[in-house]
């Protein structure tokens, strides 16, 4: 199988992480690593390299050896693509992000200096979602962009994807009977996203997504969760995405996307 990325002109964390997910699913189905043709565009290739795509792609794809590059410049990346397999990975992500996020959150987004802590907490919770609920391989990446045309300000884009059992699969055993025929990807997403249900009976569980939503709302951000054939979103005033979309192409596992915009100076 071939993944042809030669003509790729632009890619963000969602695209990179989705490529890895697609490659890992294709590889598992065929029993061999799929081949990926990397972008011809040197800027895109360099950006993928800075985002750590090649390091992770070795676990998923086979591809031709990359030409040696000169001394690398200091990284401008908020969080390189990072595999999440264990809780140790979450600790490393939180430590790494704390060291980098402060400057980006304050200078590009205009958030207060202390916002690095809720930002790190949010990342911790969103990554733990993979380990605790998906029980499958996952990746996270984050980067800041200037959305000059779309929004007229900087944003931080966070993407988390896993190839676990998805929200419907995770919650099914505990909650599907109550929903009867209505049990689906969309009702499972509503149950987790809006009502904080989890497969655990422990009332302390299920806070992660709720608290992430609360923090994203506080920063006027967008959060969406896609799983199976549905996607649910908490939509800020600057976006016009529908809060629920059903009948999408099947996505094994889950994708959580967060966009945090710069504060608007009044």
């Amino acid at each position: 199988m071939l993944f042809d990325a030669r003509h790729l002109r632009w890619v963000d964390p969602n695209g990179m992480v989705a490529l890895l997910l697609a490659g890992s699913i294709a590889g598992e189905a065929s029993g061999t690593f799929p081949h990926i043709e990397l972008p011809d565009n040197q800027d895109v290739l360099g950006y993928l390299s800075r985002m750590g795509f090649h390091d992770q792609a070795h676990r998923v794809f086979e591809f031709d050896a990359l030409p040696r590059r000169g001394a690398s410049r200091p990284s401008d990346v908020l969080l390189e693509i990072t595999a999440i397999d264990t809780n140790h990975d979450v600790h490393e992500i939180v430590d790494r992000v704390q060291a980098r996020a402060g400057a980006i959150l304050t200078s590009k987004l205009g958030y207060p200096a202390a916002s690095v802590i809720p930002f790190s907490v949010m990342l911790s919770e969103v990554c733990q979602n993979i380990i605790e609920h998906a029980e499958g391989q996952g990746w996270v990446a984050a980067q800041a962009y200037n959305w000059a045309k779309r929004l007229g300000r900087f944003v931080i884009v966070i993407s988390v994807m896993d190839r676990g059992r998805g929200f419907k699969g995770s919650l099914g055993g505990e909650h599907s009977a109550r929903y009867g025929d209505r049990w689906s990807d969309s009702t499972a997403l509503e149950a987790a996203f809006l009502h904080g249900l989890t497969r655990f009976t422990d009332p302390g569980r299920g806070q992660g997504l709720q608290q992430i939503r609360k923090q994203v709302r506080k920063w006027s951000g967008l959060i969406s969760v896609r799983s199976g054939t549905a996607r649910i979103s908490q939509v800020p005033e600057w976006d016009d995405s529908p809060p629920m979309v059903d009948g999408m192409a099947q996505l094994p596992g889950a994708q959580i996307g967060i966009i945090l915009p710069a504060l608007v100076q009044l």
């Binding site: 809780n87 979450v90 600790h91 939180v94 430590d95 704390q98 202390a114 802590i117 809720p118 790190s120 907490v121 911790s124 919770e125 733990q128 380990i131 605790e132 009332p203 302390g204 569980r205 806070q207 992660g208 608290q211």
Partner: protein
């Protein structure tokens, strides 16, 4: 002979490094929180059946909701449900960035805790009624209430109920010997 609860000081930052790994500086992930809680419980087992612990978060950089649930909410729940032991807790060093996590997990389970939010400034955090807040504020200002003061409070039925509720929820301590009711902050003052 000891009249009050056994005092215990627990530095969560130190427990984190000792019980999980010295590489971790943040209190994140549920297994980490669970390991820290179990280490705290081991320390508490060395105390008598009546104890008051100062749980100090001053050296913790980040605490997430999963860890706050394990280290704060589950710890409180466990000892509130334990008939054999009376354990009281005061949480120290819960700086502003930690407060949403601690408050969030307490409210979710309708718990409350005495928390030092700034040096020597204590407050109730979590889920509590206005009556409980008012009576707790009075107790915190006074430091302790003798039987005469308690009787004066008892004139107002809702205040009497609130005081009993604070005692039942582990937010105030009544000496079994004197009947005097103490603010928890005063019982841990010598540990700070």
């Amino acid at each position: 002979m000891r009249q009050g609860p056994d005092p215990i000081a627990i530095d969560v930052g130190e427990v984190l490094q000792r019980s999980v790994t010295s590489l971790y500086s943040s209190l994140v992930t549920r297994p980490t929180g669970r390991a820290v809680r179990m280490a705290i419980e081991t320390q508490l087992q060395g105390a008598g059946t009546l104890s008051i612990s100062l749980i100090d978060f001053s050296e913790v950089g980040i605490i997430d909701f999963s860890c706050a649930d394990e280290v704060v909410a589950k710890l409180l729940q466990q000892y509130l449900a334990d008939d054999a032991r009376d354990a009281f807790f005061v949480f120290r060093g819960v700086r502003e960035p930690h407060q949403p996590q601690v408050e969030g997990v307490l409210r979710r389970q309708e718990l409350a805790a005495v928390v030092e939010v700034e040096p020597e400034r204590f407050t109730l955090v979590g889920s509590f009624s206005e009556d409980e807040q008012r009576v707790w504020d009075h107790l915190e200002t006074e430091g302790s209430l003798d039987t005469d003061a308690i009787e004066r409070i008892a004139v107002q039925v809702q205040d009497a109920r609130a005081l009993e509720s604070l005692l039942a929820r582990g937010l105030a301590f009544r000496s079994p010997q004197s009947g005097r009711i103490h603010a928890l902050s005063r019982l841990v003052a010598h540990l700070m």
